[in-house]
Protein backbone atom coordinates (compact mmCIF):
# COMPACT_ATOMS: atom_id res chain seq x y z
CA UNK A 1 0.00 0.00 0.00
CA UNK A 2 2.62 2.53 -0.95
CA UNK A 3 1.23 6.04 -1.44
CA UNK A 4 3.00 6.51 -4.76
CA UNK A 5 0.82 3.77 -6.21
CA UNK A 6 -2.31 5.63 -5.11
CA UNK A 7 -2.89 7.00 -8.60
CA UNK A 8 -2.79 3.45 -10.00
CA UNK A 9 -5.43 2.29 -7.56
CA UNK A 10 -7.55 5.36 -8.27
CA UNK A 11 -7.30 4.70 -11.97
CA UNK A 12 -8.26 1.07 -11.49
CA UNK A 13 -11.28 2.08 -9.40
CA UNK A 14 -12.36 4.54 -12.10
CA UNK A 15 -11.99 1.87 -14.78
CA UNK A 16 -14.02 -0.57 -12.70
CA UNK A 17 -16.71 2.05 -12.15
CA UNK A 18 -16.93 2.84 -15.86
CA UNK A 19 -17.00 -0.87 -16.76
CA UNK A 20 -19.83 -1.46 -14.28
CA UNK A 21 -21.77 1.49 -15.67
CA UNK A 22 -21.22 0.34 -19.26
CA UNK A 23 -22.19 -3.21 -18.37
CA UNK A 24 -25.31 -2.13 -16.51
CA UNK A 25 -26.43 -0.07 -19.50
CA UNK A 26 -25.78 -2.88 -21.96
CA UNK A 27 -27.52 -5.47 -19.81
CA UNK A 28 -30.53 -3.18 -19.71
CA UNK A 29 -30.30 -2.63 -15.94
CA UNK A 30 -30.41 1.14 -16.37
CA UNK A 31 -32.32 3.08 -18.95
CA UNK A 32 -29.74 4.51 -21.39
CA UNK A 33 -32.09 7.39 -22.07
CA UNK A 34 -31.47 8.68 -18.54
CA UNK A 35 -28.04 7.25 -17.98
CA UNK A 36 -26.26 6.76 -21.29
CA UNK A 37 -23.25 4.42 -21.05
CA UNK A 38 -19.70 5.84 -21.02
CA UNK A 39 -19.15 4.71 -24.61
CA UNK A 40 -22.05 6.86 -25.73
CA UNK A 41 -20.88 9.86 -23.72
CA UNK A 42 -17.38 9.37 -25.06
CA UNK A 43 -18.77 9.26 -28.59
CA UNK A 44 -20.64 12.53 -28.07
CA UNK A 45 -17.54 14.12 -26.60
CA UNK A 46 -15.44 13.01 -29.54
CA UNK A 47 -17.97 14.31 -32.05
CA UNK A 48 -18.16 17.63 -30.25
CA UNK A 49 -14.43 18.06 -30.32
CA UNK A 50 -13.82 16.75 -33.83
CA UNK A 51 -16.73 18.59 -35.39
CA UNK A 52 -15.31 21.86 -34.19
CA UNK A 53 -18.66 23.48 -33.42
CA UNK A 54 -17.85 23.26 -29.73
CA UNK A 55 -14.85 25.56 -29.83
CA UNK A 56 -16.64 28.93 -29.88
CA UNK A 57 -18.67 27.74 -26.89
CA UNK A 58 -15.62 26.58 -24.99
CA UNK A 59 -13.87 29.80 -25.79
CA UNK A 60 -16.82 31.91 -24.61
CA UNK A 61 -17.08 30.12 -21.27
CA UNK A 62 -13.36 30.02 -20.69
CA UNK A 63 -12.93 33.68 -21.51
CA UNK A 64 -15.81 34.74 -19.25
CA UNK A 65 -14.51 32.63 -16.38
CA UNK A 66 -10.94 33.77 -16.87
CA UNK A 67 -11.78 37.47 -17.05
CA UNK A 68 -14.07 37.16 -14.04
CA UNK A 69 -11.35 35.33 -12.18
CA UNK A 70 -8.68 37.93 -12.89
CA UNK A 71 -10.90 40.89 -12.13
CA UNK A 72 -12.32 39.18 -9.04
CA UNK A 73 -8.91 38.35 -7.65
CA UNK A 74 -7.69 41.87 -8.33
CA UNK A 75 -10.69 43.59 -6.79
CA UNK A 76 -10.96 41.16 -3.87
CA UNK A 77 -7.26 41.50 -3.06
CA UNK A 78 -7.24 45.29 -3.29
CA UNK A 79 -10.42 45.68 -1.23
CA UNK A 80 -9.32 43.09 1.33
CA UNK A 81 -6.02 44.86 1.62
CA UNK A 82 -7.63 48.25 2.05
CA UNK A 83 -10.14 46.91 4.56
CA UNK A 84 -7.47 45.25 6.65
CA UNK A 85 -5.27 48.33 6.79
CA UNK A 86 -7.87 51.09 7.15
CA UNK A 87 -10.61 50.71 9.74
CA UNK A 88 -13.02 53.07 8.03
CA UNK A 89 -12.81 51.11 4.78
CA UNK A 90 -13.55 47.92 6.70
CA UNK A 91 -16.55 49.61 8.33
CA UNK A 92 -18.13 50.11 4.93
CA UNK A 93 -16.96 46.99 3.16
CA UNK A 94 -17.28 44.21 5.68
CA UNK A 95 -21.09 44.39 6.14
CA UNK A 96 -21.59 44.46 2.36
CA UNK A 97 -19.26 41.53 1.88
CA UNK A 98 -20.88 39.54 4.67
CA UNK A 99 -24.24 40.12 3.05
CA UNK A 100 -22.94 39.17 -0.39
CA UNK A 101 -21.31 36.11 1.13
CA UNK A 102 -24.52 35.05 2.86
CA UNK A 103 -26.79 35.16 -0.18
CA UNK A 104 -26.25 32.79 -3.08
CA UNK A 105 -24.67 35.33 -5.38
CA UNK A 106 -25.97 33.61 -8.51
CA UNK A 107 -29.34 35.24 -7.81
CA UNK A 108 -27.75 38.34 -9.30
CA UNK A 109 -27.55 36.65 -12.71
CA UNK A 110 -30.91 37.91 -14.06
CA UNK A 111 -30.07 41.42 -12.95
CA UNK A 112 -26.72 41.32 -14.72
CA UNK A 113 -28.45 40.16 -17.89
CA UNK A 114 -30.85 43.09 -17.66
CA UNK A 115 -28.02 45.53 -17.07
CA UNK A 116 -25.33 44.13 -19.31
CA UNK A 117 -27.13 42.11 -21.96
CA UNK A 118 -26.84 38.46 -22.88
CA UNK A 119 -23.29 38.68 -24.15
CA UNK A 120 -20.11 37.95 -22.26
CA UNK A 121 -20.31 41.04 -20.02
CA UNK A 122 -23.05 39.65 -17.80
CA UNK A 123 -21.15 36.35 -17.38
CA UNK A 124 -17.93 38.08 -16.49
CA UNK A 125 -19.84 40.20 -13.99
CA UNK A 126 -21.34 37.18 -12.26
CA UNK A 127 -18.02 35.37 -12.21
CA UNK A 128 -16.40 38.52 -10.88
CA UNK A 129 -18.84 38.91 -7.99
CA UNK A 130 -18.50 35.27 -7.00
CA UNK A 131 -14.70 35.42 -7.00
CA UNK A 132 -14.28 38.90 -5.53
CA UNK A 133 -16.20 38.07 -2.36
CA UNK A 134 -14.19 34.94 -1.51
CA UNK A 135 -10.94 36.71 -2.36
CA UNK A 136 -11.91 39.65 -0.23
CA UNK A 137 -12.30 37.46 2.82
CA UNK A 138 -9.16 35.45 2.09
CA UNK A 139 -7.04 38.57 1.84
CA UNK A 140 -8.84 40.58 4.54
CA UNK A 141 -8.52 37.95 7.23
CA UNK A 142 -5.07 36.96 5.97
CA UNK A 143 -3.71 40.47 6.37
CA UNK A 144 -5.48 40.89 9.69
CA UNK A 145 -3.57 38.00 11.14
CA UNK A 146 -0.22 38.72 9.62
CA UNK A 147 2.30 37.71 12.25
CA UNK A 148 2.60 40.76 14.55
CA UNK A 149 6.16 39.76 15.31
CA UNK A 150 7.17 40.24 11.69
CA UNK A 151 5.71 43.72 11.66
CA UNK A 152 7.51 44.64 14.86
CA UNK A 153 10.72 43.12 13.61
CA UNK A 154 10.67 45.22 10.47
CA UNK A 155 9.78 48.34 12.44
CA UNK A 156 12.64 47.87 14.89
CA UNK A 157 15.00 47.42 11.95
CA UNK A 158 13.98 50.88 10.83
CA UNK A 159 11.35 49.98 8.24
CA UNK A 160 8.58 52.51 7.62
CA UNK A 161 5.20 52.04 5.95
CA UNK A 162 6.62 51.43 2.51
CA UNK A 163 9.10 48.82 3.69
CA UNK A 164 6.36 47.11 5.71
CA UNK A 165 4.15 47.04 2.64
CA UNK A 166 6.84 45.61 0.40
CA UNK A 167 8.40 43.18 2.85
CA UNK A 168 5.46 42.00 4.95
CA UNK A 169 2.03 42.87 3.62
CA UNK A 170 2.42 42.20 -0.10
CA UNK A 171 4.10 38.81 0.34
CA UNK A 172 1.34 37.90 2.81
CA UNK A 173 -1.32 38.88 0.30
CA UNK A 174 0.28 36.59 -2.27
CA UNK A 175 0.13 33.73 0.22
CA UNK A 176 -3.56 34.30 0.90
CA UNK A 177 -4.51 34.86 -2.73
CA UNK A 178 -2.82 31.61 -3.69
CA UNK A 179 -4.58 29.89 -0.79
CA UNK A 180 -7.97 31.04 -2.06
CA UNK A 181 -7.13 30.33 -5.69
CA UNK A 182 -8.73 26.91 -6.08
CA UNK A 183 -12.01 28.01 -4.57
CA UNK A 184 -11.86 31.09 -6.79
CA UNK A 185 -11.33 29.02 -9.95
CA UNK A 186 -14.38 26.92 -9.10
CA UNK A 187 -16.45 30.04 -8.49
CA UNK A 188 -15.28 31.66 -11.70
CA UNK A 189 -16.65 28.74 -13.73
CA UNK A 190 -19.82 28.61 -11.69
CA UNK A 191 -20.39 32.27 -12.51
CA UNK A 192 -19.72 31.86 -16.21
CA UNK A 193 -21.81 28.72 -16.68
CA UNK A 194 -24.74 29.87 -14.57
CA UNK A 195 -24.69 33.20 -16.36
CA UNK A 196 -24.93 31.40 -19.68
CA UNK A 197 -27.63 29.19 -18.30
CA UNK A 198 -29.82 32.17 -17.54
CA UNK A 199 -29.56 33.88 -20.91
CA UNK A 200 -27.01 33.55 -23.66
CA UNK A 201 -26.38 32.62 -27.24
CA UNK A 202 -23.19 30.65 -26.72
CA UNK A 203 -21.07 28.95 -24.11
CA UNK A 204 -21.11 25.65 -22.24
CA UNK A 205 -23.98 26.88 -20.09
CA UNK A 206 -25.95 27.63 -23.22
CA UNK A 207 -25.26 24.13 -24.57
CA UNK A 208 -26.21 22.64 -21.23
CA UNK A 209 -29.56 24.34 -21.24
CA UNK A 210 -30.00 23.18 -24.82
CA UNK A 211 -29.14 19.60 -23.79
CA UNK A 212 -31.65 19.83 -20.99
CA UNK A 213 -34.48 21.13 -23.19
CA UNK A 214 -33.89 18.28 -25.65
CA UNK A 215 -33.51 15.67 -22.89
CA UNK A 216 -30.06 14.83 -24.17
CA UNK A 217 -28.41 13.22 -21.13
CA UNK A 218 -25.31 12.12 -23.07
CA UNK A 219 -24.63 15.68 -24.18
CA UNK A 220 -25.20 16.94 -20.64
CA UNK A 221 -22.68 14.53 -19.18
CA UNK A 222 -20.17 15.27 -21.94
CA UNK A 223 -20.45 19.00 -21.20
CA UNK A 224 -20.02 18.41 -17.48
CA UNK A 225 -16.84 16.49 -18.27
CA UNK A 226 -15.60 19.39 -20.37
CA UNK A 227 -16.15 21.85 -17.55
CA UNK A 228 -14.30 19.52 -15.18
CA UNK A 229 -11.41 19.28 -17.63
CA UNK A 230 -11.22 23.05 -17.78
CA UNK A 231 -11.24 23.49 -14.05
CA UNK A 232 -8.50 20.89 -13.70
CA UNK A 233 -6.49 22.70 -16.33
CA UNK A 234 -6.74 25.94 -14.37
CA UNK A 235 -5.92 24.11 -11.14
CA UNK A 236 -2.73 22.91 -12.78
CA UNK A 237 -1.90 26.43 -13.89
CA UNK A 238 -2.62 27.74 -10.38
CA UNK A 239 -0.30 25.10 -8.93
CA UNK A 240 2.50 26.11 -11.26
CA UNK A 241 1.97 29.75 -10.39
CA UNK A 242 1.95 28.96 -6.68
CA UNK A 243 5.21 27.05 -6.90
CA UNK A 244 6.74 29.99 -8.67
CA UNK A 245 5.43 32.72 -6.41
CA UNK A 246 5.85 30.82 -3.16
CA UNK A 247 9.24 29.36 -3.93
CA UNK A 248 10.28 29.90 -0.33
CA UNK A 249 7.64 27.38 0.71
CA UNK A 250 8.31 24.64 -1.77
CA UNK A 251 11.96 24.71 -2.61
Amino acid sequence: MSPNRAWARQLAALAAFLALWEGAARAGLVNPFFLPPPSKVGGVLLTLLSEGSIWPHLYATFLAAFLGLLAGIGAGAVLGFAGALAAYVAELLVPVMILLNAVPRVILAPLFVIWLGIDIESKVALSFVLVAVVMFFAVYSGIKDVDRRLIERVKTLGGGRWVLLREVYLPSVVVWVMGGMKVAVGFAFTGAVVGEFVASSRGLGYLLSFAQSTYNAALSIALVLLVIAFVLLLFGAADLLERRLLRWKYR
Binding site: V154, L157, G158, G159, W248
Partner: protein
Protein backbone atom coordinates in the same frame (compact mmCIF):
# COMPACT_ATOMS: atom_id res chain seq x y z
CA UNK B 1 23.02 55.44 27.31
CA UNK B 2 19.53 54.45 28.30
CA UNK B 3 17.49 55.53 31.24
CA UNK B 4 14.04 54.15 31.95
CA UNK B 5 12.22 56.11 34.61
CA UNK B 6 9.12 55.01 36.46
CA UNK B 7 7.45 53.27 33.56
CA UNK B 8 3.95 52.09 34.27
CA UNK B 9 2.16 49.79 31.89
CA UNK B 10 -0.92 47.65 31.97
CA UNK B 11 -2.76 45.52 29.45
CA UNK B 12 -6.36 46.34 30.25
CA UNK B 13 -6.85 46.20 33.99
CA UNK B 14 -3.88 44.00 34.77
CA UNK B 15 -0.83 46.03 35.80
CA UNK B 16 2.39 44.74 34.30
CA UNK B 17 4.92 47.39 35.14
CA UNK B 18 4.57 49.73 38.08
CA UNK B 19 7.19 52.42 38.06
CA UNK B 20 9.96 50.32 36.51
CA UNK B 21 13.27 52.13 36.36
CA UNK B 22 16.70 51.14 35.15
CA UNK B 23 19.81 52.57 33.68
CA UNK B 24 22.28 51.28 31.16
CA UNK B 25 25.62 53.09 31.17
CA UNK B 26 27.52 53.57 27.95
CA UNK B 27 29.73 50.61 27.19
CA UNK B 28 28.29 48.51 30.01
CA UNK B 29 26.60 45.17 30.02
CA UNK B 30 23.54 45.19 32.22
CA UNK B 31 21.36 42.19 32.92
CA UNK B 32 17.80 42.39 34.07
CA UNK B 33 16.53 39.25 35.70
CA UNK B 34 12.98 38.34 36.49
CA UNK B 35 10.69 35.32 36.38
CA UNK B 36 8.52 34.65 33.36
CA UNK B 37 5.56 36.96 33.12
CA UNK B 38 7.19 39.68 35.19
CA UNK B 39 7.09 42.15 32.31
CA UNK B 40 10.64 42.00 30.98
CA UNK B 41 9.61 41.73 27.34
CA UNK B 42 6.98 44.41 27.88
CA UNK B 43 9.63 46.76 29.21
CA UNK B 44 11.78 46.26 26.12
CA UNK B 45 8.77 46.84 23.91
CA UNK B 46 8.20 50.14 25.67
CA UNK B 47 11.84 51.09 25.14
CA UNK B 48 11.55 50.26 21.44
CA UNK B 49 8.41 52.35 21.10
CA UNK B 50 6.30 49.33 20.20
CA UNK B 51 4.13 49.79 23.28
CA UNK B 52 2.98 53.07 24.75
CA UNK B 53 3.36 53.16 28.53
CA UNK B 54 0.72 54.67 30.80
CA UNK B 55 3.35 56.75 32.50
CA UNK B 56 7.09 57.10 32.70
CA UNK B 57 9.98 58.29 30.63
CA UNK B 58 12.40 56.65 28.26
CA UNK B 59 15.58 58.61 27.83
CA UNK B 60 17.65 57.36 24.94
CA UNK B 61 20.74 59.45 24.39
CA UNK B 62 21.42 58.08 20.94
CA UNK B 63 17.93 57.82 19.50
CA UNK B 64 16.03 54.70 18.41
CA UNK B 65 18.07 54.32 15.25
CA UNK B 66 21.06 53.39 17.39
CA UNK B 67 19.22 50.64 19.22
CA UNK B 68 19.16 47.05 18.07
CA UNK B 69 16.93 44.44 19.63
CA UNK B 70 17.24 40.68 19.58
CA UNK B 71 13.86 39.25 20.29
CA UNK B 72 12.99 36.16 22.25
CA UNK B 73 12.02 34.30 19.08
CA UNK B 74 13.62 34.52 15.70
CA UNK B 75 10.79 35.60 13.46
CA UNK B 76 12.59 36.14 10.17
CA UNK B 77 10.61 36.94 7.05
CA UNK B 78 9.85 33.46 5.71
CA UNK B 79 9.70 34.70 2.11
CA UNK B 80 13.12 36.29 2.17
CA UNK B 81 16.48 34.54 2.05
CA UNK B 82 19.02 34.90 4.84
CA UNK B 83 20.79 37.55 2.79
CA UNK B 84 17.59 39.46 2.07
CA UNK B 85 16.57 39.28 5.72
CA UNK B 86 19.86 40.81 6.80
CA UNK B 87 19.80 43.38 4.00
CA UNK B 88 16.31 44.50 5.04
CA UNK B 89 17.37 46.94 7.75
CA UNK B 90 20.25 48.26 5.65
CA UNK B 91 17.91 48.97 2.78
CA UNK B 92 15.38 50.56 5.09
CA UNK B 93 18.19 52.93 6.05
CA UNK B 94 18.80 53.93 2.49
CA UNK B 95 21.50 51.55 1.25
CA UNK B 96 21.13 50.53 -2.37
CA UNK B 97 20.13 46.95 -3.08
CA UNK B 98 23.57 45.69 -4.21
CA UNK B 99 25.30 47.61 -1.44
CA UNK B 100 22.98 46.20 1.23
CA UNK B 101 23.34 42.73 -0.27
CA UNK B 102 27.14 42.82 -0.08
CA UNK B 103 27.08 44.12 3.46
CA UNK B 104 24.54 41.45 4.43
CA UNK B 105 26.70 38.69 2.98
CA UNK B 106 29.75 39.90 4.87
CA UNK B 107 27.74 39.85 8.11
CA UNK B 108 26.48 36.36 7.42
CA UNK B 109 30.08 35.25 6.88
CA UNK B 110 31.09 36.90 10.11
CA UNK B 111 28.32 34.94 11.84
CA UNK B 112 29.65 31.71 10.38
CA UNK B 113 26.94 31.36 7.76
CA UNK B 114 29.03 31.37 4.60
CA UNK B 115 27.22 29.23 2.04
CA UNK B 116 23.80 29.79 3.61
CA UNK B 117 23.15 33.22 2.12
CA UNK B 118 20.48 32.11 -0.30
CA UNK B 119 18.63 29.80 2.07
CA UNK B 120 15.12 30.60 3.22
CA UNK B 121 14.53 30.58 6.99
CA UNK B 122 12.62 27.31 6.63
CA UNK B 123 15.81 25.73 5.34
CA UNK B 124 17.93 26.76 8.33
CA UNK B 125 18.34 25.21 11.77
CA UNK B 126 17.20 27.06 14.88
CA UNK B 127 20.76 28.11 15.70
CA UNK B 128 21.36 29.29 12.15
CA UNK B 129 18.16 31.32 12.17
CA UNK B 130 19.32 32.90 15.40
CA UNK B 131 22.61 33.77 13.74
CA UNK B 132 20.74 35.41 10.87
CA UNK B 133 18.71 37.40 13.39
CA UNK B 134 21.92 38.50 15.10
CA UNK B 135 23.50 39.49 11.78
CA UNK B 136 20.31 41.39 10.95
CA UNK B 137 20.69 43.48 14.09
CA UNK B 138 24.47 43.88 14.20
CA UNK B 139 24.65 44.88 10.53
CA UNK B 140 22.96 48.13 11.51
CA UNK B 141 25.87 48.85 13.89
CA UNK B 142 23.75 49.71 16.93
CA UNK B 143 25.46 51.30 19.90
CA UNK B 144 22.90 49.86 22.32
CA UNK B 145 21.87 46.25 22.05
CA UNK B 146 18.75 44.98 23.79
CA UNK B 147 18.44 41.23 24.14
CA UNK B 148 15.29 39.47 25.25
CA UNK B 149 16.23 35.96 26.40
CA UNK B 150 17.94 35.64 23.06
CA UNK B 151 19.01 32.03 23.31
CA UNK B 152 16.17 30.59 25.35
CA UNK B 153 14.97 28.26 22.62
CA UNK B 154 18.35 26.76 21.74
CA UNK B 155 20.07 23.65 23.02
CA UNK B 156 22.99 24.03 25.42
CA UNK B 157 25.84 23.58 22.95
CA UNK B 158 24.51 25.91 20.28
CA UNK B 159 23.57 28.36 22.95
CA UNK B 160 27.02 28.36 24.45
CA UNK B 161 28.73 28.92 21.12
CA UNK B 162 26.35 31.67 20.11
CA UNK B 163 26.76 33.41 23.43
CA UNK B 164 30.52 33.32 23.00
CA UNK B 165 30.38 34.71 19.48
CA UNK B 166 27.99 37.46 20.43
CA UNK B 167 29.90 38.43 23.56
CA UNK B 168 33.13 38.62 21.63
CA UNK B 169 31.52 41.11 19.29
CA UNK B 170 30.01 43.07 22.15
CA UNK B 171 33.41 43.38 23.82
CA UNK B 172 35.12 44.19 20.57
CA UNK B 173 32.70 46.98 19.71
CA UNK B 174 32.25 48.08 23.33
CA UNK B 175 28.51 47.93 22.86
CA UNK B 176 26.14 48.91 25.62
CA UNK B 177 23.95 45.93 26.34
CA UNK B 178 20.76 45.33 28.23
CA UNK B 179 20.15 41.61 28.55
CA UNK B 180 16.80 40.52 29.84
CA UNK B 181 16.39 36.96 31.05
CA UNK B 182 14.87 34.64 33.59
CA UNK B 183 18.05 32.58 33.45
CA UNK B 184 20.53 33.58 36.11
CA UNK B 185 23.46 31.95 34.41
CA UNK B 186 22.76 33.90 31.29
CA UNK B 187 22.45 37.07 33.31
CA UNK B 188 25.81 36.53 34.96
CA UNK B 189 27.43 37.00 31.56
CA UNK B 190 27.21 40.69 32.28
CA UNK B 191 28.75 42.57 35.19
CA UNK B 192 25.51 44.07 36.43
CA UNK B 193 22.76 41.68 37.26
CA UNK B 194 19.78 43.16 38.92
CA UNK B 195 16.76 41.82 40.62
CA UNK B 196 16.25 44.55 43.12
CA UNK B 197 19.84 45.37 43.66
CA UNK B 198 22.86 45.94 41.60
CA UNK B 199 25.31 43.09 41.69
CA UNK B 200 28.84 43.40 40.68
CA UNK B 201 30.11 40.30 38.93
CA UNK B 202 33.78 40.06 39.93
CA UNK B 203 34.89 37.82 37.12
CA UNK B 204 37.49 39.15 34.68
CA UNK B 205 36.54 39.66 31.06
CA UNK B 206 36.36 38.53 28.40
CA UNK B 207 34.52 35.69 29.99
CA UNK B 208 34.02 32.21 28.81
CA UNK B 209 30.84 30.63 30.09
CA UNK B 210 32.60 27.46 31.18
CA UNK B 211 35.46 29.31 32.84
CA UNK B 212 33.07 31.72 34.46
CA UNK B 213 31.15 28.87 35.98
CA UNK B 214 34.36 27.46 37.45
CA UNK B 215 35.29 30.83 38.96
CA UNK B 216 35.03 30.82 42.77
CA UNK B 217 32.84 33.90 42.77
CA UNK B 218 30.25 32.33 40.50
CA UNK B 219 28.62 29.94 42.96
CA UNK B 220 27.96 32.41 45.77
CA UNK B 221 26.72 35.02 43.34
CA UNK B 222 24.31 32.62 41.76
CA UNK B 223 23.12 31.60 45.21
CA UNK B 224 22.46 35.20 46.18
CA UNK B 225 20.66 35.90 42.95
CA UNK B 226 18.46 32.88 43.36
CA UNK B 227 17.58 33.81 46.88
CA UNK B 228 16.67 37.37 46.00
CA UNK B 229 14.76 36.21 43.01
CA UNK B 230 12.72 33.69 44.93
CA UNK B 231 11.90 36.37 47.46
CA UNK B 232 10.68 38.51 44.60
CA UNK B 233 8.58 35.69 43.25
CA UNK B 234 7.22 35.06 46.72
CA UNK B 235 6.26 38.70 46.91
CA UNK B 236 4.69 38.46 43.49
CA UNK B 237 2.44 35.65 44.56
CA UNK B 238 1.69 37.12 47.94
CA UNK B 239 0.74 40.61 46.88
CA UNK B 240 0.49 40.38 43.06
CA UNK B 241 3.06 43.10 42.89
CA UNK B 242 5.14 42.99 39.76
CA UNK B 243 8.79 42.51 40.64
CA UNK B 244 10.55 44.70 38.13
CA UNK B 245 10.06 48.06 39.61
CA UNK B 246 13.25 48.77 41.45
CA UNK B 247 16.17 50.71 40.22
CA UNK B 248 18.77 48.49 38.64
Amino acid sequence: MLRVSKVTLSYGAEPVLEGASLKVETGQFTSLVGPSGSGKSSLLRVVMGLQRPKAGLIDLAAGLGQVGILFQDDALLPWRTARENVALGLRARGASKPEAGREAVSWLWRMGLAGFEERYPRELSGGQRKRVAIAQVLALRPSLLLMDEPFASLDAIVRHRLTQDLLRWVEHEKLSVLLVTHDLEEASQGPRASVRECYHVPIPRPRDLVQARAHPAFGPLLGRLWQDLSEEVGELHAATIQPLRREA
